[in-house]
């Protein structure tokens, strides 16, 4: 395949990867916007969901939908446990931002190494087999059923999330709390409850992403930090709390990372993501679509 075709396929690959990143990032962005929580453990929750699905599908040999349910349940429980059991009590006690960040970091490490001890340090994945056969000829080889599913699922989830935020009571409550938590409390909204719902939502959102990762490149415990870092980077680039921003920034990061492989070896790939972030933070800390804090 000639160089241009390779580039183009890398681009499409990047779109698919970026879509998965966006799914993970949007949950992070939501929690940050709503509860001012920088939930580093989010990466751990994503991987845990992946491992849950793997366990159900590969080890117990049950159909995928059950795996997804298991993933959702595990992720939701874990997310809720952290929010209600760790973050909320600390916030209510007036813990400093640094203390909360440290707690989140600690939780991430606990999750990562619990997974390592349970499943081993090696990567696990599920073969996506026939989904990988290309749908289109040579130039667009990267477009296979799996990629199409990835993009489709992502768009569906984002559409659903946008609708939830805009049209449902929960969405309105979340927006009120994000705008002014103290005022929302006065008006009768139960802020703690809303924040817990957000944690549940964020955890639920990563489950499809975890599934896509599992069937794609696989999941490894040591990925935990990288996953959440990418998510945080995307959330920052897209703007805290911006759903559209998370999607666009995720695609951007995915594409840039993939295209970098055209010229640079995989090891340097991370440089592009962080380079992007660095420049953005110098120029426009509120991100592409965020408003000034």
């Amino acid at each position: 395949m000639d160089s241009l075709a390779l580039l183009f396929n890398l681009f499409l690959d990047g779109v698919a990867t970026g879509a998965v990143y966006s799914l993970i990032a949007v949950g992070f962005s939501l929690l940050w916007w709503l509860a001012d929580i920088q939930h580093l453990a989010h990466g751990g929750i994503t991987l845990t969901a992946g491992y849950a699905i793997f366990f159900v599908v590969a080890s117990l040999d049950l159909p995928l939908p059950l795996g997804i349910v298991a993933g959702l349940a595990v992720a939701a429980l874990l997310g809720l446990a952290l929010e209600a059991g760790v973050y909320q009590p600390m916030r209510l006690r007036g813990s400093t931002e640094m203390a909360l960040l440290t707690a989140s970091l600690g939780a991430l490490i606990v999750i990562e190494y619990s997974l390592t001890l349970t499943f081993g340090p090696e990567s696990v994945s599920i073969d996506s087999g026939s989904l990988r056969t290309p749908l289109l000829p040579d130039m667009l080889r990267a477009v296979d059923r799996f990629a199409a599913i990835t993009v489709g699922v992502t768009l569906a989830v984002f559409a659903g999330l946008a609708a939830l935020i805009r049209y449902t009571m929960l969405g309105k409550a979340m927006r009120a709390v994000a705008e002014n938590a103290a005022l929302a409390e006065v008006v009768g909204l139960r802020v703690l409850r809303v924040q817990r719902m957000a944690a549940l939502l964020a955890a639920a959102l990563v489950t499809p992403a975890a599934a896509l990762l599992l069937y794609g490149n696989g999941v490894t415990p040591s990925d935990a930090l990288h996953v959440v870092l990418t998510a945080a980077t995307i959330a920052i680039i897209g703007g805290r709390g911006s759903i559209g921003g998370a999607l666009l920034a995720g695609l951007l990061v995915g594409i840039v990372e993939a295209v970098m492989q055209w010229q640079f070896s995989v090891g340097w790939r991370l440089l592009s993501t962080f380079g992007l972030l660095y420049l953005l933070l110098l120029w426009r800390p509120q991100g592409l679509f965020g408003s000034k804090a």
Binding site: T96, M98, A232, S265, L270, Y278
Partner: protein, 292 residues
């Protein structure tokens, strides 16, 4: 006997790292996970330069200078961003260092690392074993006293005020940016100093010793002991250098020991900030006044 010397040298190396991070975390209130990288810069600089024939002290100084300059990469954005933004930048710097150490094979030897680093020598005398320990201990004492002088000085007061309220500092004419750059540079240089000692001691460096895990461990030492006290992080360094040794006596399967240790560190991080955020010997800070 040799085992005891090994432990004590390790303790000293971590004491220096903990002191360096405490200046940032405990006094200036800036969270950083980049110290593994600065540690590594000191180590690799020493490795490369002493193998090329440089005297140990010159190589060490070069490493310190390089780390101080690199810290500017973090300090500059810290003017405009703080909290998690800053943390992510420090993580980014740390990871980029790891990536460079692994992939810039021509310079660092990649995963294979650099071996046969000459021992620490002053005026031509190579220092090993117990003599090296004496030097390390003297260094720890020296840097502790220096840090204590700094933190009890007007500069230290400026750092504490900065941590409380940057805008208030600016309103009184203080140059917040310059102060942050200065403390980052000093902290990075001290971490690099420690890295040099490490390189001379182990005579071998590879990327694995300077990954984000080290940064996290040092953070735990600081938080466990009590950020902002200097003596607290020293205690934390002692405890957490000795504790992993205890793991070696437990009957665990090979890979599990390392993972269990990390799991424990993570758990300790959460427990410390949850139950006793001021650490073992710190005191609770006053609540921040509401500014409306």
């Amino acid at each position: 006997m040799n085992y005891a010397i090994h432990i004590l040298i390790t303790v000293n190396i971590f004491v220096l790292l903990a002191l360096a991070l405490d200046l940032l975390v405990g006094y200036a209130g800036l969270m950083s996970l980049a110290h593994g990288a600065f540690f590594g810069i000191g180590a690799y600089s020493t490795a490369l330069l002493t193998k090329a024939g440089w005297p140990a002290l010159a190589a060490q100084s070069a490493g310190m200078l390089l780390a101080a300059l690199l810290s500017g990469l973090i300090a500059i954005p810290s003017m405009r961003v703080r909290g998690i933004y800053l943390l992510i930048i420090t993580i980014a710097v740390q990871i980029m260092f790891s990536v460079a150490a692994q992939n810039w094979i021509g310079l660092t030897g990649g995963d294979a690392g650099l071996a046969n680093i000459p021992p620490y020598s002053i005026f031509g005398y190579a220092l090993r074993g117990v003599y090296f320990l004496v030097v390390c201990t003297a260094c720890s004492v020296f840097w502790f006293l220096l840090c204590r002088r700094l933190t009890t000085s007007p500069f230290g007061r400026l750092l504490r005020a900065l941590r409380d309220d940057e805008v208030g500092c600016a309103a009184l004419g203080k140059n917040v940016v310059a102060a942050k750059m200065a403390v980052f540079a000093f902290s990075a240089a001290l971490a690099a100093f420690s890295g040099s000692l490490f390189a001379h001691y182990t005579a071998y460096v590879d990327p694995r010793s300077f990954e984000i895990g080290v940064s996290i461990l040092v953070l735990l030492m600081v938080m466990l002991g009590g950020a902002g006290t200097l003596t607290g992080p020293i205690l934390g360094a002692i405890v957490l250098s000795v504790l992993p040794e205890a793991f070696k006596f437990l009957p665990l399967p090979p890979g599990a020991a390392a993972a269990s240790r990390q799991l424990l560190f993570g758990l300790m991080l959460v427990l410390v900030v949850y139950f006793r955020p001021q650490g073992l010997i710190g005191r609770r800070r006053s609540q921040i006044a509401t500014h409306g």
